[in-house]
Symmetry: C2
Subunit: 151 residues, 2 copies
């Protein structure tokens, strides 16, 4: 019962491909399946190497293009923390969330705070802005990495 966990998302992806008159290929299937199977925030390189375990001939460009499709379909979301490469995460059905990142061990947690969202919208309104999306990232030390976890 390993496959069934992602099957709903895979189906959604296939539906998207059909809608857009795109083709279902083995590569797309394996990449999507790998992606849906990992917990979070994976880079293209990582995705490529995991996908190749299932289908060795996959090329970087295909992973790149497939992730673009997944992002367009709304099933994946890009995130760029600090520097380096773009990472991708599953878009949770539950809705939007923000990130809290440990600057020591790079642990990434997700959270959602409705009150903050409200204040954001409110603040934007003051400037005559209509917010369509936002990015909130908290950087700091997690419990394990705190500089002084004094008694």
């Amino acid at each position: 019962m390993n496959k069934s966990r992602n099957s709903l998302k895979i189906e959604a992806f296939n539906r998207y491909l059909q809608q857009q008159d795109l083709k279902s290929t083995k590569q797309r299937y394996y990449i999507a399946d790998v992606f849906f199977g990992v917990s979070s925030h994976i880079s293209l390189e990582e995705l490529l190497s995991l996908s190749r375990k299932r289908y060795p001939a996959i090329g970087y460009a295909t992973v790149y293009r497939t992730m673009k499709l997944l992002t367009e379909s709304g099933l994946a979301a890009e995130s760029r923390f600090g520097e380096g490469q773009t990472r991708f995460e599953n878009v949770p059905e539950k809705g939007h969330h923000d990130h809290i990142i440990c600057i020591k061990c790079s642990k990434i947690l997700e959270f959602h705070n409705e009150k903050i969202e409200e204040l954001q919208a409110e603040t934007a309104k003051k400037f005559g802005f209509k917010v369509v999306r936002h990015k909130l990232e908290l950087y700091g030390y997690c419990g394990d990495c705190a500089p002084k976890s004094t008694t």
Copy 2:
């Protein structure tokens, strides 16, 4: 009375250079002066071309290195909105602020909301995190660019 506006920051920069046993050069002076003189969110390319108006021989690498120093000294801050290049902004004496960006015309406004900051710290605490910095960016449409500013 044009120069005096930046002189405090220039002095702070020179102080930083001394502290670090680094040298004061014409290039560093002109780049810093140009940077402190612009309102906000300038890219390296822009900074290079402005600096060259005052000192034509300046090279890209020097601007790059000088901005790195200014960032390390705490007088400048990097910001990466959406894609493309890193931009730099003056670090305001008033303290931290966040950004609200128009996705149509790229206008960038700054704001600060104490309540949001508090909620962030509070949220982080729940996860055992100690926040040292954060990034909050609101993307949307400004008053001028709103899709439908209906009556």
